[in-house]
Structure formats: C-alpha cells, structure tokens
C-alpha cells in the first residue's frame, strides 16, 4: 500500500526512482571492504610489491557516484580499480609491471580460496568473486605519469588543462598487451587519467556539491564542519540523472548489450549539458535537450572528447561500427520521448509505459510501495477553472522571457 502523500509531484517520483536505482549501502560497503582488503594484501609485510608503495583505489562509476544497483540480485557488480605502484617507466617494461601485480593478485585469490583464477586481460587483471555477491573487479596496473601528461597537453595547446594540477597530478601510464612497446624498456607507455576524469566531473558540479553538503549539514550530519563532509556522502541531481539514464539505456539494450551507448559517453555529455539545476525534473530537461550539442564533428567524424585528454575520442569506435552511433541516437530519441512524455505530458502518477519498461519492473514496484503510480498514456484534461489558471501562468512566463509573437493572416 502507498505510504506517502497521495498527491506526489513529478519530482517526488523521480527522486524515488533515483533512490531505488542507486547502489544500496550494503553493496557500497562491500565494494570498499574488498578493495581495501586487496590493497592491504598488496602492501602486507612480505608482499613482493611492498617496496613500491602499492595504492588500490576505485575509478569509474563507483568513484564518481554514478554506479547503479544491479538489475537483478544475481547480476554482476562491476567495480573498476586502479593499482598504482611507485615506480617510473624506465625501470621496468609494461609487461614486468603487469606480471608483478598479477603475481600478487594471484596469491590474493589463492589465499582467499577464490574459485576463479584471475584473468590476464588486455590492460587489466580481472578478479571474480563468487561468494554472496557476484563481484567482477577489473584491476588496472599503472604508475604515476604526471610530467609526460602535462607536457603533451601543453604541446597540443590545452594550456588550461595543463595547469589544472588537481587533474594532471592523477595522470598514469598503463600497460597494454597489444602495445608494440609492451615487452621492451621504453618511455613511450599508453597513458590514461581515470582519476583526473573524476576530478573534472566533480568540478563540473562543484557548486551543487557544496549546496548539497550544506543541506546535509543543516539536516544534521555526523560531521563537525561542512568542509569535512566527503563527496560520496551526498548525491547531486547530475549524478542521479546519469544513474537514471544509464538504467534506461541498460534495459533498452538488454538484448544487444554489445553495442549499447557506453557510460563514459552518457556521463561526459550529461555533465557538459548540466548547468547546476537543483531538481531532477530540471536536470533531465537540460541534459536531454542539450547533451548531443557536445558531440563535435571533426573531419566528418563524430567526436566526443575526453575532457581530461582532448585528443582522445570516446566515440572512436563509431566510425568502424556505425551501429554504435545509431544506437546512441536512437537511445537519446527514446529517452527524450520517455522522459519528455512523463515530465511534460503525463500527470505525476502516470508513468509512460516505455519509461516504466526501461526502468524495470522491480524499480516500479518499489516506487509503488510509496506512491499510487500506474502505467498510463493519456491523462485526463483538467476542469475549466484550473485550465485557465494553468494557461495564464504559461502566458505570463512567455511575457517574462520576452518572446511574445502575434499571429497574423495574409487574407482578409
């Protein structure tokens, strides 16, 4: 039975949906416990990596607060980690770094009687947990690589980025089995900056993050000062909107997950289009209206720049696999129609069928526990007095914007 207000707003329902899609605290705690346990293992007194000061940290959606609860309880939870050693490129080959870390990851798996042997993938080690939860962890071996990153940015003219220390200090050199220099001593390693991306993302919503922390503090929090509140203790409407859009994408491409639009593309474009809106209604409106404006065309090719490495195109596979590009635009079309219909056409408790299906029955059931929602396409029209108020408010908003235009006709 619904337990909350019988007349919720669109915002109430969207906030509830966001809450139901979010990773529950127990999974979050398990993720933290697991990467900390791995980190401690690599740094234990008789670890072969002890002298390299190993550092294990999350990257990707768990780091930026956009990871979703798995669709079903048996679905895998993907966690991306980096494993950074204190070394430099000239001291070993990519392969040596990869194998050194691999050896300790193997011994971790053995010591914890894990069923699956860690797999040596192109850039990372994959560790599968098969206990209570289906965890799937990609561990990215790397070393810090600030100077190369910084000088490449300056050389390519990205000065503003090159002097953004918070971003550049996170740059890393990574290993890649397909790289020609994989097995030789060289200074020419593949480079990446997943933690710098997270810094960029947080900077894009800095004001709202501060606002949310202040709100949390006002409500009463265990922290002594607002400044003590960590980023992960609050969630902005940008993060929630991305979570909703990713879930919508996952279910839309449930039968064709291979070519679904990738999360980094949705995240980057959404962060660009987001202008600090404080509600989910306004955030989804801004993001869905504007996100594809940030897909550039360079030499006839679509470009979605990595904001912390503008020479990297997140859409680089679209050229050889046009279905990826088609899927992105057809997903965006569907998302616009589904959320546009909900926000602009339907009453708050009438969830469009397409939106309900693409957010999942389970999420809808949980929303139904609190609100009297149903799947519906055609809301009733309001009674005349209410309609006049509604229309006159719309007329006033046009006058406020100063975009009035008068109809005409060229035949008398």
């Amino acid at each position: 039975m619904p337990t909350e207000s019988p007349t919720p707003t669109h915002e109430d329902i969207l906030q509830k949906i966001a809450k139901e899609i979010d990773v529950p605290p127990e999974i979050n705690e398990a993720v933290v416990a697991r990467y900390q346990s791995l980190g401690s293992w690599l740094d234990r007194p008789n670890s072969t990596l002890k002298g390299y000061d190993p550092y294990v940290a999350p990257q990707g959606s768990f780091l930026i607060g956009t990871a979703n609860r798995p669709i079903t309880d048996t679905d895998e939870i993907d966690v991306d980690l980096i494993c950074r050693l204190n070394s430099s490129k000239g001291h070993q080959t990519q392969k040596q770094l990869k194998m050194a870390i691999g050896q300790e990851v193997m011994s971790y798996a053995q010591a914890h009687s894990m069923k699956h042997t860690p797999e040596n993938k192109r850039r990372c080690w994959t560790l599968k947990y098969a206990d209570q939860r289906n965890f799937h962890t990609d561990i990215l071996p790397c070393i810090s690589d600030v100077n190369t990153y910084r000088s490449r940015l300056s050389a390519n003219g990205y000065m503003k980025l090159a002097i953004n220390d918070r971003i550049t200090q996170e740059a890393i050199a990574i290993t890649d089995k397909t790289d020609p220099g994989y097995d030789v001593i060289t200074l020419n390693w593949p480079s990446s900056n997943p933690l710098g991306f997270a810094v960029w993302f947080m900077q894009e919503m800095e004001d709202v993050l501060r606002y949310e922390k202040l709100e949390l503090f006002k409500r009463g929090s265990p922290y002594a000062k607002v400044e003590d509140i960590p980023d992960h203790a609050v969630k902005t409407t940008l993060q929630k909107a991305i979570q909703i859009l990713k879930r919508h994408r996952d279910l839309m491409f449930a039968d064709d997950p291979e070519h679904k639009p990738i999360s980094i593309i949705i995240t980057t474009l959404a962060a660009h289009a987001y202008q600090g809106e404080l509600t989910l209604v306004d955030s989804l409106t801004a993001i869905l209206n504007g996100m594809d404006r940030f897909v550039e065309v360079v030499d006839g090719k679509r470009w979605i720049r990595n904001p912390v490495n503008p020479e990297e195109n997140f859409a680089d596979k679209w050229q050889e696999m046009p279905e990826k590009e088609r899927n992105f635009y057809s997903w965006l079309d569907n998302a616009r129609r589904d959320f546009g219909t909900y926000i602009r056409v339907n009453r708050p408790t009438d969830i469009p069928t397409g939106m309900a299906n693409r957010l999942g029955a389970k999420v809808m059931d949980r929303v139904k526990e609190n609100f009297p929602i149903s799947k519906s396409e055609t809301p009733a029209v309001a009674a005349a007095p209410a309609l006049i108020t509604q229309t006159s408010q719309m007329v006033e908003r046009v006058k406020d914007r100063g975009t009035e235009t008068a109809p005409w006709c060229d035949k008398g």
Binding site: I343, A382, V398, K399, P407, D410
Partner: protein, 224 residues
C-alpha cells in the same frame, strides 16, 4: 548575421524531441517533416498539458530563409482568418520577417520556443477567454504595416509603411525627400533619424521581403 547552415533532423529532434514528445520526425530532400500531437505545456503540471493539437509541420532545410509551414489537421481551430488560419489548415504563426528582425535569436530552437509555441498557446488562451494574449496582427497588408510600425516604433498605415520601406531601401537617403510619414515636411526636418537607424539595423533582405509582401497584398486587396 549567422553563417548559412542546413537545418538537420538532429536539430529538430534537439529542439522538439523532449519538449514535444508526441511528435514524430522524418526528412525529405529539402525539409524535415514533423507530425503528431503538439502539447501546450511548459513543464511538469499535476494535470498534464493545457491543450493538445494534431499538427503536421514542414521545416525547410534552408531555415530561417523559408518560413516553416505548420498545419493544424485535427480540425480543433476554426479555419477562418479571425483565428489566423487558412481554409486548408495552415496556421499563420506570425509575420515572418518581423520575427526575423525583432527576435534576438532566430535559431530553430528560438522558433520552436517562440512563434510555434506561442501560436498554440495563444489559440488555447483565445478559446478560454476570447482574447489574444500576445496581441494579433491585422489580416493582410494592414498586419504588415503593423509589423513595420513595430520596427519603426510608431504607427503607420499601409501607404506610409511602403514609403518608409522605399526610403530604407534607397541607395542613398536624401534629406529633401518628402517624409514618408505624410507630414508634408522634408525628411531632414522629420523622421530622418528613424530611417537612418533602421537602414543600419535591418538587412536589406528583410525590408525587401516585408515590402514585397506588403505591395503584393495591397495590389491584391485593390483588385478585390
């Protein structure tokens, strides 16, 4: 002046895909075609949109050079001039050249948020109250004269509007010309400043467009 560019189906989807989720889009060589239900809504409302209209639109790819064609085909709006409708269901959204001149932004997005949305909002309000919320232009040549009045900042009739357009379009403005306002004074002693400032502000295309529309309508009106 913005660079000439081609309106794409992506531009149309970006402007209308979310705001008008009940419209569908296809394209031909020279136009994007939109059809379905247009909702009069500017955001979430507990009761849903104020009104729905069945429409068909042709947005030409050389936008904003060619005025889009919007047709209300649900038969909800009476097809009479007083409702700013042609008999075939075509909607007279606005005096196109006037919008091009007066709007700060003449992008496709601004067209959707301006004349397109305003027309159906105006029709909804007119049905409820019998009034046009953002005023209306008179039919025919008189409406164009009103547009030119709006640009000039003072009221002129059709003949005066035509004379002003001529003065604005002339290669050189001569102070000894009779003032287009009909005062019998010389231009230099009357509305010279307005004429000069409009020459500077408006593109010749715009004034030419308005003037030829005005002259055609005046001719047609004289003949009937």
């Amino acid at each position: 002046m913005s660079e000439p560019s081609t309106l794409t189906i992506e531009d149309v989807r970006r402007a209308l895909g979310f705001a008008q989720p009940l419209l569908k889009f296809t394209e031909s060589d020279d136009a994007i075609f939109a059809y379905g239900v247009f909702i009069v809504s500017d955001g979430p409302h507990p009761n849903g949109p104020a009104k729905r209209f069945e429409i068909k639109c042709f947005f030409f790819k050389d936008f904003p050079k060619r005025e889009p064609i919007v047709i209300e085909n649900g038969g909800v709006i009476p097809r009479i001039a007083d409702r700013h409708m042609y008999k075939n269901g075509v909607c007279c959204l606005c005096v196109w050249q006037e919008w091009l001149v007066l709007s700060q932004d003449t992008s496709f997005q601004a067209f959707c948020d301006g004349p397109l949305y305003n027309f159906f909002l105006s029709q909804t309000w007119f049905e409820q109250t019998g009034e046009w919320p953002f005023d209306e232009r008179s039919h025919g040549a008189k409406g164009i004269a009103e547009s030119i009045s709006q640009l000039l900042g003072f009221k002129v009739n059709e003949q005066q509007a035509n004379s002003y357009a001529q003065a604005i379009l002339a290669k050189r403005v001569k102070g000894h010309w009779p003032c287009p306002c009909g005062s019998n004074k010389k231009l230099r002693d009357c509305h010279l400043d307005e004429v000069i400032s409009l020459r500077e502000q408006l593109g010749a295309d715009t004034i030419l467009g308005l003037q030829s529309q005005l002259q055609n309508l005046m001719k047609a009106e004289r003949e009937t």
